[in-house]
């Protein structure tokens, strides 16, 4: 039954017109939803977080999944993008008068993050695996510690009162654009080289892959996306502090990537969506609202014994889920596979296993 459904779904995705239609529809909806309040404000907020998390998961998947390196620095790149864009919108650019300057600030945030991404790319020429994980972690700690020590950037207290500039159309625009860019990168000559590095770096070097250049590009693109996500995140949350961008944030993104499956854009999108929704469902208020249809003799004991404690136990359940995924489901939802819709026509023959 499900196989048949997947086959029908895939044949639907073969059509050339489907992706543009979906994109237009989504873009239209992203305007319509906040305009006509099709969903509650809370659900709208979650949808925007899902978009931002999709950007993060896709970009981390580029480094961790496609290239097979291990980076913990993504929260650091997010922080760089967030802080540089916030400083621009708060102190430099007159965004209140010219709203179109906001995407410029977001873009510059991404560029600054990409420049720092080069710093991480350099040590990755020499070291891999555990040691690269440590370097990226050290990078994250250094970024955090720097921000804490610069008074101009709010220090450890952070920056409150950021304008709420991130709207649903912008989130949709950036998510679609960045996923499109990463998808084109992955299926380009560079993408092939990136995957060759994952399989065997020395062999791919011998096969005339310019590994340094490829790593540069991959790390820069990945950190660019993370910077943009950080900028959007900051203007949605309206408050940033170094504490937000710590190792927990990086781990969150890691969970999304590995839950969805490595080396798969569709997987990252699924992983980010599932993880964000799951975290929200595990909130006591959401859970109570979701279960309120139950008759009160069932709901009341649940509410008293289970739901009210979810707030504290939610963050215990998530790492356990991560461990379980790693132990019993190491490839995630769609590890090394891809939605047909993401695969360019010329490559479709090569992807038999989907």
């Amino acid at each position: 039954m499900s196989v048949l459904l997947i086959k029908q779904w895939n044949s639907l995705l073969e059509n050339d017109w489907l992706v543009p239609v979906l994109l237009t529809l989504g873009f239209g909806l992203s305007f319509a939803i906040p305009e006509y309040n099709l969903f509650s404000v809370y659900v709208q907020l979650i949808m925007m977080y899902i978009g931002i998390n999709i950007i993060l998961a896709v970009s981390l998947n580029l480094v961790n999944g496609y290239m097979g390196e291990f980076s913990l620095a993504h929260a650091g790149f997010m922080a760089v993008g967030a802080y540089s864009s916030v400083l621009l919108t708060m102190k430099v650019l007159p965004v209140a008068d010219y709203p179109l300057l906001f995407p410029c600030a977001v873009f510059i945030g991404g560029v600054v993050a990409a420049l720092l991404g080069m710093i991480i790319a350099v040590p990755s020429f020499k070291v891999r695996g555990d040691y690269l994980a440590i370097i990226t972690l050290a990078f994250l700690m250094i970024v955090k510690s720097m921000i804490e020590n610069i008074d101009f950037m709010g220090g450890p207290r952070g920056i409150p009162g950021i304008m709420k500039l991130t709207t649903m159309p912008w989130v949709f625009f950036w998510t679609a654009t960045l996923v499109w860019i990463v998808r084109n990168f992955v299926f380009s000559k560079y993408g092939r080289a990136v995957m060759a590095i994952r399989e065997d770096e020395i062999a791919s070097d011998l096969m005339s892959v310019d590994t340094k250049k490829v790593k540069f590009f991959a790390f820069m693109l990945s950190s660019f996306c993370a910077g943009i996500a950080g900028a959007l995140f900051a203007h949605l949350l309206q408050f940033i502090s170094p504490r937000i961008f710590d190792i927990t944030k990086s781990t969150d993104i890691l969970i999304m990537v590995y839950l969805g499956g490595i080396a798969s854009l569709g997987g990252s999108i699924l992983g980010a969506t599932i993880y964000t929704v799951l975290l929200e469902i595990l909130r006591p208020s959401t859970m109570a609202a979701l279960l309120s249809w139950l008759p009160s003799f069932m709901f009341d004991p649940l509410q008293a014994h289970l739901i009210t404690h979810l707030g504290t136990w939610r963050m215990v359940i998530m790492p356990l889920a991560l461990i379980m995924v790693m132990l019993y489901w190491p490839r995630g939802v769609m590890g090394l596979r891809e939605f047909r819709g993401f695969i360019p026509r010329a490559h479709k023959q090569a992807h038999h296993h989907n």
């Binding site: 291990f70 972690l137 050290a138 700690m141 804490e148 963050m315 790492p319 991560l322």
Partner: protein, 295 residues
């Protein structure tokens, strides 16, 4: 003695105290890496659990210092073996990344589990009477002496176990070659469990001593201290036990010096910059040997 020398000796003593705690934790990282070539990212949180065991034993059961220390070490050793058996052993053949992520997950689980049970920082009761002596202007506290001498004792004990006993020989053999050693009749799983037990036990001892010196404990205290200890292990050459001790005293000295000269908020910055530079220049550490990559 002149003011300057006294000041430096005082700082050196503080550095030695900090270094001993780091060393005990760093040993756990380095032993596990030596045997499994895996970074046990949850080790810092085992240290935190050690401090909480110490809190429970001393405040609820009212035990004195020595039984608290021994029971804490036993408790964390069991925890270490449990983590290894449940989370790491099934992944021994899996890609290394899976093990790294699982270790991060275990660490987060331990932190948040403790946080769910103990939402507020806890005050560990005073286990030892703190007497401060004044020796030529240098103030030495009894807790400092206990921490330094106990850590040195544990380190000597570990060095003896690794270098002189058959278990230690088996450990060194496994880190030398993992495929041949089981054929020689060495129970690899048992030795790995013992390694985890020893490493976690030392972390438990470090947790107890940390709680002695800094009695306010919280579930996230293991994160930063754990990473710092990890830096020590890398500085000395990860997988090398004596290197871990040297690295710990180097980092302890660097941190105390940074605090002496710069605002204390720069401490983490300097520590991690040191780590990053070192890995880029000499990734195998001070006492480590470079691994030759074979094609």
């Amino acid at each position: 003695m002149s003011e300057g020398i006294i000041y430096w000796l005082q700082q050196a003593l503080n550095a030695f105290q900090l270094g001993s705690i780091y060393a005990l934790i760093a040993l756990g990282y380095t032993m596990v890496y030596g045997i499994l070539t895996m970074i046990n990212f949850a080790h810092g949180d085992v240290f935190m659990i050690g401090a909480f065991f110490c809190f429970l034993l001393s405040s609820l059961l009212g035990l004195s210092f020595i039984p608290t220390l021994l029971l804490t070490m036993l408790g964390t050793a069991l925890l270490g073996v449990m983590i290894e058996r449940l989370a790491y052993k099934p992944l021994r053949q899996a890609p290394k990344v899976s093990a790294i992520i699982t270790a991060l997950g275990v660490g987060m689980f331990l932190e948040n589990f403790t946080l769910a049970l103990a939402p507020y920082p806890k005050q560990v009761p005073l286990l030892l009477e703190n007497v401060t002596w004044d020796v030529y202007g240098i103030s030495i506290s009894s807790i400092q002496i206990v921490i330094i001498s106990l850590s040195l004792l544990l380190m000597l004990l570990l060095d003896y176990i690794v270098q002189r006993t058959s278990i230690g020989m088996a450990m060194r053999a496994i880190s030398w070659d993992k495929t041949i050693v089981p054929l020689m009749g060495i129970p690899v799983d048992l030795i790995i469990s013992i390694t985890f037990a020893i490493g976690a036990g030392l972390a438990g001892a470090a947790g107890t001593m940390y709680a002695l010196a800094y009695p306010v404990i919280d579930p996230y205290m293991g994160v930063m201290v754990g990473w710092k200890a990890f830096i020590c292990a890398v500085v000395g050459g990860i997988g090398n036990i004596r290197g871990a001790m040297i690295g710990a005293f180097i980092l302890g000295t660097v941190e105390i010096m940074v605090v002496a000269f710069l605002p204390s908020t720069f401490r983490d910055f300097v520590a991690f910059t040191l780590l990053m530079l070192l890995i880029m220049i000499r990734p195998y550490g001070i006492l480590g040997k470079p691994r030759i990559q074979k094609v």
